[in-house]
Amino acid sequence: MEEIKELDPKNRIDHMTYLPDMEVIDSDIDKKVVKAINDYDYTVFTAADVLEALKKDVLSYRDFQALLSPAAEPLLEQIAQRAQQETRKHFGNSVMMFTPVYIANYCENFCIYCGFNRHNKIRRAKLDFDEMKREFEAIAKTGLQEVLILTGESRKGSDVKYIGEACRLARKYFKVIGLEVYPMNSDEYRYLHECGADYVTVFQETYNSDKYETLHLAGHKRIWPYRFNAQERAILGGMRGVGFAALLGLDDFRKDGFATGYHAYLLQQKYPHAEIAISCPRLRPIINNDKINPKDVHERQLLQVICAYRLFLPFASITISTRESNMFRKHVIAIAATKISAGVSTGIGGHIEGEEAKGDPQFKINDNASVDYVYKEIEEMGMQPVMSDYIYV
């Protein structure tokens, strides 16, 4: 049995201190968010606060806090109705479609809930450019025009140059390239932007740094503030848009939901041209641990969080993950989400029909629906699937 030294807290590095190669930027957004989370007491809100928030055109962060509070739970139907109006105003009946492409699953981090963690015994793999090309061709055939390229977090296993080449190749097949890879410095984001990527998503997992420390035991990812500032470095590197998320179920979901929205809000305020996207993942089982689950974040709570995001950030794109059931996804796009993945594989490779994925998946997905199926389903709901809402300039 391999000895895992980080299981002993004294062998872990300080999660709040930057490592030498990590760029430090001039920003106080992290401090503002931390202060706001610490001050957030969701037990003080009443139904009257929630109803007041629902009357407003532009919500304050206090209103957002009210919508995430337990007092809002019995009012979920009203909140959903209001969220739907807001979604229609900003997006009409459009629903953007995309698919994630996992190109490598090597990982240097040790995050105890993640299937890719470096101590988890799974099949590791990395697509070479020929395999990638075949993967992209297979996806392009489904009609999709937007992909999200993902890797495990390993600078060795999938270096910046490799990711850059993947973007260049993907640009030949798709109009929109997003990235969900390890956080990096702004000059590296600039390079990837030049290679054709234009969106960067980084999940903070949990905004509670004390909790974060107990879940992310080793690797670059352990450094909480460097991860927090990734979106800002991406914008400084010229990316058009950035995505935010807390992995709901890791810690107090109300506080994490609040922190996610407030983080995005402050960043958009500082960089008004930045396009904002929010994802709403809940914990899922992984290979070698079937017991992982989102704890107290049931579908009802998840919907509450998603609607609160919509009302606080009416202009933001909200993505709904295949971690959720087909039934939940279908209904939530009619209310508040605006972007949906389809034809998903979280393994390495796996978009080519009849071929097995080369590497094991990050987590077990819940909705296996194909692009065609999801497209038709959106149409049947009276909405319009949109493959491209973007132009790279």
């Binding site: 105003k89 009409g92 009946n93 008004p272 202009f315 699937p385 491209s388």
Partner: protein, 255 residues
Amino acid sequence: MKDTFKLGEHEFTSRFILGSGKYSLELIKAAVENAGAQIVTLALRRATTGNVANILDYIPKGVTLLPNTSGARNAEEAVRIARLAREVGCGDFIKIECIRDSKYLLPDNYETAKATEILAKEGFVVMPYMYPDLNAARDMVNAGAACIMPLGAPIGTNKGLATKEFIKILIDEIELPVIVDAGIGKPSQACEAMEMGAAAVMANTAIATAGDIIAMAEAFKYAIEAGRTAYLAGTGRVLETGAAASSPLTGFLSD
């Protein structure tokens, strides 16, 4: 005589410019027909390549395509998108949208004027979407714009003519057609814009979010026609004339 308005060398009888975003592709054709629209906008960023559903295929032949530069954050990007639109066969009309605020989507007049100048020189029929500011509107005119398109309210809000007083000034001072764009939420608001003397109205969200898109397109058509007829009939003067004072101030004048 036919009541028409001109954009560059092109003459139009319909004063309703219809947006094609935010609703189902299958409904575009019927909406255009019921609206009697001769100009339809489209976001170039929505146009796809390959054999997937392409918005361009759903816009009926014979209407004038008005591609917009949505997605552009500055003049340079707007110019590049406009050229791309021309390359893919969208014609010479271009609606300039330069937006560097992802929250309210308010246009940047300064960048818009710069893009207008470059594109007008390249022979585009340039229709700048702008915040209703008289000085900026004059800049657009001098830069070669074919009309100006002030916003009634922030895009998508359906709040109507929140900028009414400023749009009135533009109508009074600018000789080019003034087309009210963005914020129009109801046919009555479109009608009001036309009564004020707007040359045309552009709407998208109001129709896209209606329960019956086709019927709402038609309702807008009639409202715009009614407003135009009222403007030509001269209602403004009637409404703005107050009651005569019982003791006229000028009654002392004798010779």
